[in-house]
Amino acid sequence: MNTTPLRRTPLYHEHVAAGARMVPFGGWEMPVQYTGIIEEHRTVRSAVGLFDVSHMGEFEVEGPGALAALQYLTTNDVASLQVGQIQYSVLCYDNGTIVDDLTVYRMGDERYMITVNAGNIDKDWAHVTKSTEHVKDARWRNASEGTGLIAVQGPKAEALVGRLADRDVPAIGYYRFVRGNVGEVPTVISRTGYTGEDGFELYAPADRTARLWKALVDAGRADGVALIGLGARDTLRLEMKYALYGNDIDETTNALEAGLGWVVKPAKGEFIGRDALEKIRAEGVRRRLVGIEMVDKAVARHGYPVKKDGRAVGLVTSGSYGPSVDKYIAIAYVETALAPVGTALEVEIRGQGKAAQVVRTPFYPSKVKKAG
């Protein structure tokens, strides 16, 4: 039995006071819902929601070797990042399977921050520091403990953050950030998110994060702001087919079959997993992560087998009801030949094959602000 005490974010007391249902998640005690998952989901699609994602990890790497360290660790081309720009990327093992997915921020000429998944902080810290021991002049710092993170997501996010910030918020492009005060709290204002809506992720000092949260709650009343738990975070990202580490991607899945080939850039030079991924790309992936929609009424869940004419051809990695599409949707690995949109499949649910089909993704159209 695991007796390690659950960790709490700087906003724990805010969640309890707001009546959240708290659950264990990746070693943290987190709000799964406040009023109800579907209502929270809809508020993010129609107005604006606040998410506590302070459990996520932040590492900084600095020095003349910082770029070389990140180029070796991650699959995407960090050299293409300008100061103030952000990149989605992947940390791989030698065999091309996934340590974690992450975002890379270029904070300065020789300074970067990476944001990693909460449940992977210890594993990732060991991986990044050990794997780059040979890189000179790259100093790593684990800033996770001292950093709070609030996501503000939805069509009214820009108006809300803009009202509280001392910077020109509408001018921030997608996957760009600026430093500025929001509600008098010093933050990194990052135009990123995990919902498919326009929005921001605000990094703040841990001891000021509750103040930032309260400022957003107060200023957001006019926008219909709501607090959003992990339950709606999951249905929102599922409708976008954004991968969730531990569900859709992990150390048994490679970056190419997971559909992350767009951030795998072998032309940039050597990186961990490059040779394996080059080989997989040349040979073709054996399976692909696809979006499926249930034709029969039933809910596909993580771990359910996918079949074709009774033969096992894959596995569901995430599935639920999609509130904005009003359908039962799922993400699954299926044999490459069965990945084309329109392919009829079955999902085995409690021993019975239920009709499903491969559909175009995202399930719900993305509203993120594209680089202008």
Binding site: I38, G231, A298, R301, Y328, R350
Partner: protein, 130 residues
């Protein structure tokens, strides 16, 4: 505290049973639907199916979880709430009314006395529902 109507009987798995002449109407309690959160799918047996006391008769799924449904009494299913296929959220909105699931014609009267009374069920959920 969740609503526990006095005129119903209850299972330890949070189903309610309501006598209606020689039949029994079955659903899940207000406490159960609160714990589940938004119900998005309900799978029920067909009319004519046999259910057995304390045995699984169907499934209720919320956004996050799958939960088995347990029959309060043994017997034959004589009515099923077909509305729940289209409007599973009715289970959240009106668990003791429009959110009912089955009507069963019991095969044994003795099982009725095994069910929890309202005060016994209130005590169960006061202890955290287990």
């Amino acid at each position: 505290m969740a609503n526990v109507p006095k005129d119903l009987k209850y299972t330890r798995e949070h189903e309610w049973a309501k006598p209606e002449g020689d039949r029994v109407r079955v659903g899940i309690t207000a406490y159960a639907q609160e714990q589940l959160g938004d119900v998005v799918f309900v799978e029920l047996p067909k009319v004519g199916a046999k259910v057995t006391a304390s045995k699984n008769f169907g499934v209720v799924e919320s956004v996050k979880a799958v939960s088995d449904l347990f029959a309060p009494i043994s017997g034959e299913v004589v009515e099923v709430n077909g509305e729940l296929a289209q409007k599973p959220e009715t289970v959240n909105q009106d668990p003791y009314g429009q959110g009912w699931m089955l009507v069963v014609k019991p095969s044994s009267k003795a099982e009725w006395d095994q069910l929890l009374t309202a005060p016994q069920y209130e005590e169960l959920i006061a202890q955290g529902g287990h």
